[in-house]
């Protein structure tokens, strides 16, 4: 194992992307993710890559679309308001079945909102990134090490399934430093015979396109895409269980909320409360099965979120409301304290 170094979450994403073979980055400055762009600006010229500060988030995602069309690994990063602007491009990437890695280091909203951490783009990431029927693979790291690992994983999944993988982080994870090992296993990228790299006069032309004026044809493409989504739901779900073996109360939390919850769970255990946690690592596909299983034995589920209650809907769907699911939250850039979560756990125990 390589020596550990102390690194910011945002920088870990950039470093991991380079390790994964990404040589093209397009972005636009926005707090709290700007370190990704700054890191790329410094590194890319030294390794023959491209860093380009685009004129807008919209231009950046379309530059990503252009590079991806040629089959190369490419990424952009932003924070909440910027991701809204990228929505158009995300929909086109989906419609044209192009792989890409997009990072959202979330901040509070709506509107200009604030610059402090948030998880209030959960719906946007898992359901409504843009118009039309589509999904992105949504990966939710909860440490600097995972920021890096899931970036590598994101590129691989994006290539495998020809779609966007999104890292859904937040301001805390982007800004914090933790020790990280930069040893990655990088799988080679798959062949991309569909890429528009010039025909070399050796094959019929390739077309990257999301326009299908015949409804029968467009419907067929949507059905095929959703067949692929089913495969992903079967094979790519990731989650972590913490102290769930004997749990009577289950905490559901991802990202920074899972770290706060862990403190609260450890404290509650000291008080004799049997509480555990299911931490989704993929938010789409959502880990439905573990919640269904938990609902067979726990008496309540507590969804801890930095939002007005977004993931809680997936938790309820996953466990089919077999047990009460309640919310413990702070919003607008505030983070629940371990004490707040502990109190919510104790309230459920009563």
């Amino acid at each position: 194992m390589s020596e550990k170094i102390l690194m910011k979450g945002n920088e870990a994403i950039a470093e991991a992307a380079i390790a994964a073979g990404c040589r093209h980055y397009f972005g636009y400055p926005i707090t709290p993710q700007t370190e990704v762009a700054a890191y790329m600006a410094k590194k890319m010229p030294k390794i023959g890559g491209t860093f380009l500060q685009a004129e807008s988030e919209i231009a950046a995602i379309n530059m990503v679309y252009g590079v991806s069309s040629t089959g190369k690994r490419v990424m952009t990063s932003s924070s909440s308001p910027g991701i809204s602007l990228k929505g158009e491009g995300l929909s086109y990437l989906a419609g044209a079945d192009l792989p890409a890695l997009v990072v959202n280091v979330q901040r509070g909203g709506p509107g200009l909102g604030g610059i402090q951490p948030s998880q209030s783009d959960y719906f946007q990431a898992t359901r409504g990134a843009g118009h039309g029927d589509f999904h992105m693979i949504v990966l939710a790291p909860n440490s600097v090490q995972e920021m890096a690992q899931l970036t590598v994983k994101g590129f691989e999944l994006a290539d495998t399934y020809r779609m966007t993988a999104m890292i859904l982080a937040d301001g805390t994870l982007g800004q914090m430093m933790e020790p990280i090992s930069l040893d990655f296993d990088i799988a080679p990228a798959p062949a991309k015979p569909w890429a528009t790299t010039g025909t070399k006069m050796e094959r019929p032309h390739n077309i990257v396109n999301s326009l299908f004026l015949k409804p029968e044809e467009l419907e067929k493409h949507n059905f095929l895409r959703y067949d692929r989504y089913r495969t992903i739901e079967e094979n790519e779900v990731m989650y972590e269980e913490y102290m769930m073996e004997d749990a009577e109360i289950c905490v559901a939390a991802f990202g920074i909320a899972s770290r706060v919850s862990k403190n609260a769970i450890n404290e509650a255990r000291k008080q004799g409360i049997k509480v555990g946690m299911i931490r989704p690592i993929t938010l789409w596909p959502f880990p439905k099965a573990p919640f269904m299983k938990a609902a067979e034995k726990v008496k309540a589920i507590l969804s801890v979120e930095l939002s007005m209650g977004q993931m809680i809907e997936d938790v309820k769907l996953a466990c089919e409301c077999k047990v009460p699911v309640t919310l413990c939250n702070r919003v607008g850039g505030m983070i629940p304290s371990p004490d707040q979560v502990l109190k919510a756990i104790c309230d459920l125990q009563k």
Binding site: K4, L6, T31, P32, I115, G171, T172, Q175, M176, M177, E178, P179, I256, R259, V260, K262, N263, N266, I335, S337, P338
Partner: protein
């Protein structure tokens, strides 16, 4: 104690983030679990900067320090804001050349250090932060000169290597107070 939760706070530009990085790095190099989390805001200089550092034998949960074992206050607003949040029995280090009042609480150990004044007198006026770091490590029983120097070599990038000596001097000065 297996976990130290440290909160550092002061004006932007006083080296709060770097002081925190030094403490985190030293912990990491001793195979502890560590985290470092800055406050971030629109202002680059002036304003208030703070930084949460956790050094622990166990995996770090939340990286946010709300009830520090150790508070470092480099200005009065920081002491005003965070004094009450320190755990009973905790430690408060503050720059007594800038903070004009004593610590009010009696259930914590207060370390008034005239860091800015000492830094100016000793020819490294920008290193008041490192005088405080030296004192903190000494008070925690962790000021091992060799380990501290190893950490400095890691934290300070090679192109600023000439800064290592002054930083070391400042920390030693703090440790010897």
């Amino acid at each position: 104690m297996s976990t130290k939760q440290i909160l550092l706070s002061g004006f932007g530009g006083q080296g709060i983030l770097f002081a925190g990085k030094m403490l985190a790095y030293k912990g990491m190099m001793e195979d502890k679990n560590v985290s470092w989390l800055p406050s971030y805001g629109p202002e680059m200089r002036g304003g208030t900067a703070s930084c949460s550092v956790i050094v622990s034998d166990e995996a770090v949960g939340s990286p946010i320090v709300s009830n520090p074992d150790v508070l470092v206050a480099m200005n009065l607003p920081s002491l005003d804001r965070f004094e009450d949040s320190v755990v009973p029995g905790g430690m408060i280090f503050y720059d007594s050349s800038l903070v004009e009042r004593p610590v009010k609480r009696s259930d914590v150990v207060a370390y008034p250090i005239p860091a800015t004044k000492l830094a100016g007198e000793n020819g490294f006026s920008t290193l008041a932060n490192m005088i405080l770091v030296g004192k903190i490590l000494q008070a925690l029983g962790e000021f091992d000169e060799e380990k501290v120097l190893n950490t400095l070599n890691k934290v300070i990038p090679p192109k600023r290597a000439e800064m290592i000596e002054a930083n070391m001097k400042a920390m030693k000065l703090g440790a010897e107070l």
